[in-house]
């Protein structure tokens, strides 16, 4: 049942081999680039949080293949509805690291998608983005566009009513929407077995009569392949990417309180980067020096971006813009009040 292309050691399965042959060199190298870049970005974010440069942060580590593989299968015109942990999706889809860093620095500018991109700001309330993706897919269908909508969510989201209502709508109205669940085994501290009476997420698809795919979420090739396939059908589908976050839920969380060390170790041995890197090296797509150089480039760029974000400052007047289409006069009065309140830097003065 679990679709798998690439084993933890970096060996292709039969299905993996045939998919691999269909890929261009660029695709193959891109996947590696995104995987490595996302990990680098993610680790820096954790560090920057510790240094007080950004706020509480939700790390991706361990889930890079699920995010990169799925996002790489998307087209620019697709609608993307991420939750709060999708930095890997954002980066791969083409969202700037500036935006990503700004968002986690509590800066609303970071939410603004680049022109032409239908990349929706991260959704914090669990499962609420699923109905939005349904609506966006409906707009695609009604306008006879070619794209799809994809909603990203965790295993935890499957317990919410919005999950149910969204899948039901998608199915009844037959909409081109992919429900992409990263089942990382936990909703914060609660293991999937305590959240769901079915052993898998895909089993739930039968209540809605929609297609379902369970895929090894640490296998970037299988994820890429599955999402590409599901996308091409232009039908609602539930995709379960079985994965694991090797770090904490957020930088404010202590995962050792609820996860046995042994479990983490097992999953470290299934690292999504290692296996794909091994494959690329074996296949002679590039060598370790080239990887190293590429990494340095990315690192430099990330650090430069962080410095830039730090230099800029938020403007209190942006509290008021975009709340309504235009700032109404009555709200302008409050905006002036805020502008006059020069000491806005601190609550205690």
């Amino acid at each position: 049942m679990l679709i798998n292309h690439l084993l933890p050691c970096g060996t292709l399965t039969d299905a993996g081999s045939s998919f691999w042959r269909t890929l261009s060199i660029n695709e193959k190298l891109d996947l590696l680039f995104f995987l490595r870049s996302v990990r680098m970005l993610d680790r820096r974010m954790v560090l920057w949080q510790r240094q007080g440069k950004i706020g509480t942060y939700a790390p991706v580590e361990g889930q890079e293949a699920a995010q990169v593989g799925s996002a790489y299968a998307l087209d620019k015109k697709d609608w993307v509805f991420p939750s709060y942990r999708e930095q890997g999706v954002a980066f791969t889809f083409g969202i700037s690291t500036t935006s990503i860093i700004q968002y986690w620095s509590g800066r609303i500018e970071g939410c603004k998608p680049p022109i032409g991109y239908r990349y929706v700001p991260p959704t914090v309330p669990i499962a609420t983005q699923l109905p939005h993706a349904v609506g966006a897919a409906w707009s695609i269908k009604k306008k006879k566009e070619t794209g799809i909508a994809i909603a990203y969510f965790g295993d935890g989201a499957t317990s919410e009513g919005d999950f149910h209502e969204a899948l039901n709508f998608a199915s009844i109205f037959d909409l081109p929407v992919l429900f992409f669940c990263q089942n990382n085994g936990y909703a914060i501290s609660v293991p999937f077995a305590e959240q769901s009476a079915t052993k898998t997420v895909v089993e739930k698809a039968s209540a809605y009569g929609i297609n379902a795919y369970q895929v090894d979420g640490n296998d970037v090739l299988a994820v890429y392949h599955v999402v590409k396939t599901a996308k091409s059908k232009r039908k609602p589908a539930l995709i379960e990417a079985v994965t694991y976050r090797t770090g904490a839920h957020t930088t404010a969380d202590d995962a050792s309180r609820y996860r046995p060390e042994g479990e983490v170790r097992i999953w470290l041995n299934r690292d999504p980067l290692y296996r794909y890197e091994q494959l690329c090296l074996k296949e002679g797509l590039l060598d370790e020096d080239q990887i190293e150089k590429q990494d340095q480039q990315v690192a430099k760029e990330l650090d430069r971006t962080m410095r830039e974000v730090e230099k800029s400052h938020p403007n209190p007047s942006s509290l008021f813009t975009h709340v309504y289409h235009q700032i109404p006069d009555w709200l302008k009065k409050q905006q002036e009040e805020a502008a006059n309140d020069v000491n806005h830097g601190s609550i205690h003065c």
Binding site: W79, I108, R118, P125, P131, G135, A136, W138, K143, H322
Partner: protein
Amino acid sequence: MLTMVQSIADAQRVALEIDKNVLLLGEDIGKNGGVFRATEGLWEQFGSERVIDTPLSEAGIVGSALGLAMGGFKPIIEIQFLSFITPAFEQIVSHVARMRLRSQGVFSTSMVIRAPYGGGIGAPELHSDSTEAYFVHTPGLRVVVPSSPYTAKGLLLGAVASPDPVLFLEPLRLYRTQKEEVPSDYYTLSIDKATVVSQGEDVTLIGWGAMIPLLLEASRLLMEQDITADVIDLQSLSPIDEETLFASAKKTGRVVIVHEAPRTCGVGAEIAARLSEEVIDSLEAPIKRVAGYDVPYPLFALEHAYLPSVKKVVQAVMELVYFQ
């Protein structure tokens, strides 16, 4: 000559005709024409691609309508009764009210959520509640309430034209009580203005929706005692048209605010608070509220005991006029 519910159907017909991106979504709004017939004939005219019967799933309706709005459509949703908006509460306050801001103006949130509300017709439990204050307290939304067939069509088309999401509350008690000339063409009324529906000197009566006929009746009775009233139909509950309220309060020096919702933290509280912040020195008496009691809306046998009445309003005015 149309009733209010007919004028609401007519407004939606016009909206569907002039803008192909307008869509109707809701429970029983298609073949059935809505439980109150507020979408009568529209499914037949525009088909099930534009007048969409949905599953019984308010969060799904509002959430997917938001996705449709982001995708360039303009959904008009019917929530069957206002109390049944609560399953969609998260979608409304966490998303509909915020998506424009969160996306920094990139994604549209333009939609109208229509809901019949209010009491007085002997409806079953939870079919008569007035919960407008929840939404007035939620920045990013607009809240509009008509009080007649003519204003209903103009305000609803105004709401549809608004780029902001609008909660459009329809006082179901007035759905069929009055027939009025309603132009069959497109016209809009401003959705952020109050209207002075009757002019006077001694007291300002503020209300909306089904309270307006009641305030006019109270004002007529007061006239017999030589007390004349400004009767203000608030129409826009969010934003509140302060200027109109302040001007009247300054003129009369006495204010009674009337609504069906429970008194505590109702919209009347906000109006009273603004008046007491801005025009307190013009007041000759305390600001009075005539509102529902602070209890859940009762089963219908007692709704008349719960609701504001002409008598309660007149009594409140008398207390102000003979204050001190």
